[in-house]
Structure formats: structure tokens, C-alpha cells
């Protein structure tokens, strides 16, 4: 038995807090995903071409971390309003799996290719964009199933 009763959660008892958590969630995911895609565009030879991919990773590093930290923090708050519902939700399970994959990918292969671009760079960039679109799509679909 879960000893936690979601009806006692302040987010379920205040008109403002839940949508506000969602707004911070969306803004911070935009910050982190926008910064990652900026590097992807550079690896595809697009976007801010005057700066190297390596330098763009350095420029965006802190902001990706801040965005991920806030997105996951607010995500946990949203999750806490109805944990059982989320745990049993297919799109949500997929979202968590692809998010974990995305974070691992970003700090391993994606990073090393950005630091020393090879012929594989465009493929790595396209995979990265696909990976990061996925948690957004899964997040929307988790509310529609």
C-alpha cells in the first residue's frame, strides 16, 4: 500500500500551483532542448555557423543543465499530484525511458562528436533531434490516453 494520499498534495489544492508548475516545465524544457538543438543544427552545418560546435556546447552547457534541472524538478511536482496514474500511463513510461536515453546520449556520443566532428556528425545530430522531440510528444500523449 502506498502511504501517500495525493489529495493532501498542495498542488491539488491550489488553483495556481499546478498550471504554474506546467509553465515552468515547458519554459525550462524549451531552454534545454532549444540549446541542444542549436548544437545539432551546427553539426548539420546550419544555425550559428560562425561558432564551432565545440564552443556552442561550452556556451550552452550551463543552460542545458539549468533547463534539465528545472524541467525534472517541476516534472516531479506534476508527477506527485497523481503518481499511480502516471506510473500506469504508457506514454509516460516511454517518456521516462527516452528522457534517460536522451540525457545519456547528450553527455556521451553527442558531446564527443560535437567536440571532434566526424563524418557521422549529421547522423548524430538528426538522432539527437528525434530523441528530444520524443519526450515532448509522449508528454502530450500521456494526457490524451
Amino acid at each position: 500500500m502506498l502511504a501517500y494520499d495525493p489529495s493532501t498534495n498542495p498542488l491539488n489544492n491550489n488553483e495556481w500551483s499546478y498550471p504554474l508548475a506546467e509553465c515552468v516545465h515547458i519554459a525550462s524544457m524549451a531552454l534545454s532542448i532549444g540549446c541542444i538543438v542549436l548544437v545539432d543544427l551546427r553539426l548539420l552545418g546550419l544555425g550559428i555557423k560562425s561558432t564551432s560546435a565545440k564552443q556552442l556546447v561550452r556556451d550552452t552547457d550551463l543552460w542545458v543543465i539549468i533547463g534539465l534541472f528545472l524541467a525534472i524538478g517541476t516534472g516531479l511536482l506534476i508527477f506527485s499530484t497523481d503518481p499511480v496514474h502516471f506510473m500506469e500511463n504508457g506514454p509516460f513510461q516511454f517518456k521516462m525511458a527516452i528522457l534517460l536515453a536522451g540525457i545519456l546520449y547528450n553527455y556521451t556520443l553527442h558531446r564527443s562528436v560535437a567536440f571532434s566532428p566526424s563524418g557521422l556528425a549529421p547522423v548524430v545530430a538528426l538522432v539527437s533531434i528525434l530523441i528530444w522531440i520524443s519526450p515532448i510528444a509522449a508528454g502530450i500523449f500521456s494526457a490524451f490516453v
Binding site: P19, I26, V37, L56, W132, I136
Partner: protein, 162 residues
């Protein structure tokens, strides 16, 4: 024709009805809308971080603004197209929703913002003054965060019972 009648007529068109009643089309368009927020909203963040002089300092403001401009324009068109589709399918609810009205008002203000800082910042080939750049960035961040938030609040508004 009153606004209410126009909204009703719009919502009753075949495609708006199909969209509203579709189990897949509506969430898919919403996903595209959100992906645009992530990628192109992220670019707005990036531009503003540069204007605030806290990141991308090795590139000039003019360079960052110019390299991201076509992407932001593209994203804006896709985002607005999705928004029009989503809004039309629920036009009767939306036109009377105060959060929707506020969102459209702020969206119009982003045009005023772009024009107001056009010469001094966004089309300035020389580095803009630090104060002007900071003001433009802060206003942009406030405007876009508010627009995104109002979009979320539209969904939570319940019209008073008639």
C-alpha cells in the same frame, strides 16, 4: 454577424469539426506546437542570453540574431499555423476565454517589441548599447513566458454558467 456567430461558423466547418473530434489529429498538432515552443522558443532564449551578455560572447549580437532569424521566422509560422488550427476547432470557447484574449494581445505586443528595438538592436550591424540590449532581452523573456503561460491557462478556464 456577431463574433459569437462567426466563432460558431468557424468551429462548425468540416475541418474544424474533424480536428476537434479526432483522437489523433488534435494531439499531433499540439505536439508540433510544443516542439516549436521547445526549438524556436529555445532560440529566443539563446538570443536573449546573448543580449544579456551571459552566453555566446565570442559571437556578435548581430551574428547571433542574423543566423537564428530565418529559423525563428520558420518556427513562428509553423507555431502560429498549429495555433490557428487548434483555436479554430474550439473557436466558440476560445473567443470568450479571457486568457486567449490576453494571449493574442501579448502576441501583438511582440510585434511592437520587434519594431521598437529594430534599429537599436535587431537590425543594428554594430554592437547595441548594453542597457538597450538588456531591456530588449528582459521584455522579450517576459512577453514570451507570459504568452506560453497564458496558453496553458486557456485550458483551465471555465466559462461562467449561463
Amino acid at each position: 454577424m456577431s463574433i459569437a456567430e462567426a466563432a460558431h461558423a468557424l468551429q462548425q466547418t468540416g475541418w474544424a469539426t474533424d480536428l476537434r473530434e479526432s483522437a489523433l489529429a488534435y494531439p499531433i498538432i499540439l505536439v508540433i506546437h510544443l516542439v516549436c515552443i521547445a526549438i524556436f522558443g529555445g532560440m529566443i532564449f539563446v538570443t536573449n542570453l546573448r543580449l544579456l551578455n551571459v552566453a555566446f560572447r565570442e559571437a556578435s549580437v548581430a551574428d547571433i540574431v542574423a543566423s537564428l532569424r530565418p529559423w525563428k521566422h520558420f518556427g513562428f509560422v509553423v507555431m502560429v499555423t498549429c495555433g490557428i488550427l487548434l483555436g479554430s476547432s474550439k473557436a466558440v470557447d476560445y473567443y470568450a476565454n479571457p486568457y486567449f484574449i490576453a494571449k493574442m494581445t501579448l502576441l501583438a505586443l511582440t510585434g511592437v517589441h520587434a519594431l521598437a528595438f529594430r534599429k537599436s538592436v535587431y537590425r543594428n550591424p554594430a554592437p547595441p548599447s548594453a542597457d538597450t540590449a538588456r531591456l530588449a532581452a528582459i521584455l522579450s523573456l517576459v512577453l514570451w513566458f507570459s504568452i506560453m503561460s497564458l496558453g496553458r491557462w486557456i485550458a483551465y478556464y471555465e466559462a461562467p454558467k449561463q
